[in-house]
């Protein structure tokens, strides 16, 4: 693969497992700056796991991940992650503003509270997703789409350069879908990069510039018009790689990596 100048994210030979079950095997790719990139694949293909692995939220077996050429800990402030909406407790006693302010905590010392400046940034972020009117609302009174926009605002408040989003379009209303697409455009004009797990094949070419096709391994990566071919889609959504998965699971179960030398 030819190197991309200034790639915001380079993943090299990433493998992940859940207990002994291999989820992703040997995934390598680089993405260009200032583009929207969809991560596409069937259910259980490891799309969310890939994002979590990249963000260091789930342990990886092997592989390296570079953000703007450096490990995550050195580029933390340049990266914002939007978790799946369903993973949070929306009954939690907190209002919209306080959730968005969480986006500022990466920059605050452990005893610090958000300043007036942070509040201003959070308000701008809410404005960007048309949720400013809801800032004092309890989160349990929001619709699914509004919840999603609050999570996006929280990521915006981080003022990052690379955004990793886990299924922001899942189960949202038309207004929210439009708001997200507009947000993508705004972020792109600021040369920001968006990587987004996406489940709707019909809208991939409309909303995204690039696509990563994933099914337990990387099938293809590149501009949408080059990669989204019937042949690639067939590979992605066609039969499972049972032999690879079975053999890799056997490998993991044996714990052979503990006794085998790395030669």
């Amino acid at each position: 693969m030819k190197a991309i100048q200034n790639s915001p994210l380079i993943v090299d030979q990433l493998s992940m497992r859940y207990q002994y079950k291999p989820v992703l095997t040997d995934v390598s790719f680089q993405i260009p700056e200032g583009k929207t990139i969809a991560v596409v694949g069937p259910n259980g293909a490891g799309k969310s796991t890939l994002l979590k692995g990249i963000m260091g939220l789930e342990p990886t077996m092997s592989g390296s991940i570079k953000f703007f050429g450096q490990p995550l800990d050195q580029k933390r402030l340049a990266v914002a992650y939007v978790p799946q909406r369903e993973e949070s407790d929306w009954d939690f006693p907190i209002n919209v503003m306080d959730v968005v302010l969480m986006g500022r905590h990466g920059q605050l010392k452990f005893w610090q509270r958000p300043s007036a400046q942070d509040i201003l940034i959070a308000e701008q972020a809410l404005e960007q997703v048309s949720m400013l009117d809801f800032k004092s609302r309890q989160i349990n009174q929001l619709s699914g789409g509004q919840q999603q926009r609050v999570f996006l605002a929280r990521a915006l408040a981080q003022k990052a350069s690379l955004y990793l989003m886990d299924e922001p379009f899942a189960g949202v209303d038309v207004t929210t879908e439009k708001a997200i697409v507009e947000l993508f455009e705004t972020l792109k004009t600021q040369n920001k990069t968006i990587v987004c797990v996406h489940h709707d094949l019909n809208t991939v070419s409309e909303y995204f510039d690039w696509v990563l096709l994933i099914n337990a391994r990387l099938i293809a990566a590149g501009p949408v018009n080059e990669v989204l071919t019937p042949e690639n889609l067939n590979k992605t959504y066609g039969g499972r790689l049972s032999l690879l998965n079975e053999m890799t699971e056997k490998l993991y179960r044996s714990n052979i990596d503990r006794v085998h030398d790395n030669g």
């Binding site: 939220l57 992650y81 993973e87 939690f92 907190i94 959730v99 969480m102 905590h105 990466g106 005893w111």
Partner: protein, 465 residues
């Protein structure tokens, strides 16, 4: 304080004596209990929100062998020694509860149960061994099973107060981060928060609160003080800071009341009293809290039922008017909605208990939506009533059209849904439905009846006020 006041029939006299606050020892116990209730409830709030409610219970039980081991090793029961012993064995329990699920096939709930019972059993064995020893100071040790506030000495309370205040200061200092982790752990990790540090800190604060509660509440019941206040506070508050303050207040009140009881009957264990009082406060919250309490919910439901009943009767008036021969074959703009109808006519169209109907009619008259016709003993819509009836009918029929046209639902099944939605739609939502319908301002519903147009009605501005 000896056992000589264990039986005293004059509880009232003791009650008064306690609240005169002349006995310095009693005042100390009062302050200690209140502080303990306050700090344990506040820190317990985080355990509750992280869905780790039972952790406090396990940690309290795990503290027992620490206290006993410290006594066996040093043959002394100074508060700081007991405290350190309890904290270390609680932490050992915490480590075991954390390690087992990560490294074996045992799930977290089983790990907690195993740890809790093992540590508790170990503590009880040591306690019975100590009872057989000829050592001074062993008499107070069995009190930590169920707590005995009255047995506490001033230096116990100094330590308790200092620890409680430290816990409260730490919560105030780290509130934002604790809340962030409790709400969305993976996100907190993604922005680079040092999760292990905050988790150990939170665990330490919980352990400290549990340990200082041992003498007042006891090992067995300590979990209730961590969790009941915040469970009660959820009924009163929507936002976390307010909720923790309410929980702290509830905890402090229960502490004060138990100190009072312990003064009146010093031989009685305080823990059960404290927990029973907390439960009473919980039940009060559950019943009487505004908005979320049971009574408030019932009142809201009653209000809604009346509202629906009112609207149903108004709609019935519209239908009666529409079906009347006078209006036959008229354009809908020309329909006369001012005809009068008696109760029997209403009952013929809508099934409703006669008593309820009478009440509803009176209520609508009070609201100025209906007026009584004195000559025929009937009722007719006022101008405002006409507008309301038209609006409701419009919503009902628009929704029926929407369901059949856009969702291809069976014409015979849509009435049922429209019957419910008409009470809930706002003007804005009605507009959205109009826009979604193929033909703007559809004139007829799927049953072929006219959809009244209440837009631009002269009365609208008046109603809007």
């Amino acid at each position: 304080m000896g056992d000589f006041v264990a039986y005293n029939p004059s509880y009232w006299a003791l009650f008064v004596e306690f609240w005169q606050l002349n006995d310095p020892n009693a005042v100390w116990v009062l302050i200690g209990s209140a502080l303990l209730g306050l700090s344990a409830s506040v820190i317990g709030g985080f355990a509750f929100l992280r869905k780790r409610s039972l952790m406090g219970d396990a940690l309290a039980h795990a503290a027992l062998p620490g206290v006993m081991t410290a006594f066996i090793l040093f043959h002394a029961n100074t508060p700081i020694l007991m405290f350190l012993g309890a904290v270390s064995s609680s932490f050992l329990g915490l480590f075991l509860m954390d390690w087992l699920p990560k490294n074996t096939k045992i799930k977290p709930d089983a790990a907690m149960a195993i740890t809790l019972s093992f540590f508790f059993a170990l503590g009880l064995m040591e306690l019975s061994y100590i009872q057989g020893l000829e050592v001074a100071g062993k008499s107070g040790l069995d009190k930590i099973l169920f707590g005995q506030a009255a047995a506490m000495l001033p230096h116990d309370i100094y330590l308790l107060s200092i620890v409680a205040i430290i816990v409260l200061i730490m919560v105030a200092l780290f509130f934002q981060k604790f809340r962030l982790i409790a709400f969305n752990r993976s996100y907190a990790k993604s922005i680079g928060l040092n999760i292990p540090f905050y988790e150990v800190l939170l665990a330490l604060l919980i352990v400290m609160s549990v340990v200082i509660g041992l003498q007042i509440v006891g090992v067995v019941l300590m979990a209730a003080v961590l969790l009941t206040p915040v469970a009660a506070a959820r009924f009163w508050n929507q936002n976390l800071p307010g909720m923790l303050m309410t929980a702290g207040g509830i905890g402090a009140i229960s502490g004060v009341l138990s100190a009072n009881v312990s003064y009146m009957a010093p031989a009685m264990p305080t823990g059960p009293w404290m927990v029973v009082m907390l439960f009473i406060l919980f039940v009060i919250s559950f019943l009487f809290a505004p908005r979320k309490g049971l009574l408030s919910n019932l009142a809201q439901q009653r209000q809604l039922r009346r509202h629906v009943c009112d609207e149903n009767v108004l709609r019935t008036f519209y239908i009666l008017n529409e079906r009347h021969p006078v209006n036959d074959k008229k354009e809908h703009s020309a329909i006369d909605l001012g005809l009068a109808f008696g109760e029997e006519a209403i009952l013929a169209v809508r099934g409703i208990a006669i008593g309820k109907l009478k009440q509803t009619l009176q209520r609508l008259e009070q609201k100025g939506l209906l007026s009584r016709t004195h000559d025929t003993d009937g009722w007719r819509l006022t101008e405002m009533g006409m507008f309301a009836a038209m609006t409701l009918t419009r919503r009902h029929r628009l929704w029926e059209s929407y369901l059949t046209e856009q969702l291809d639902m069976d014409v015979n099944k849509v009435h049922h849904y429209a019957e419910q939605i008409e009470h809930l739609l706002t003007d804005e939502e009605t507009l959205q439905i109009e826009q979604a319908l193929a033909q703007q301002g559809a004139l007829r519903d799927p049953h072929g009846r006219k959809i009244p147009d209440s837009r631009n009605h002269p009365i609208q501005d008046e109603v809007a006020k």
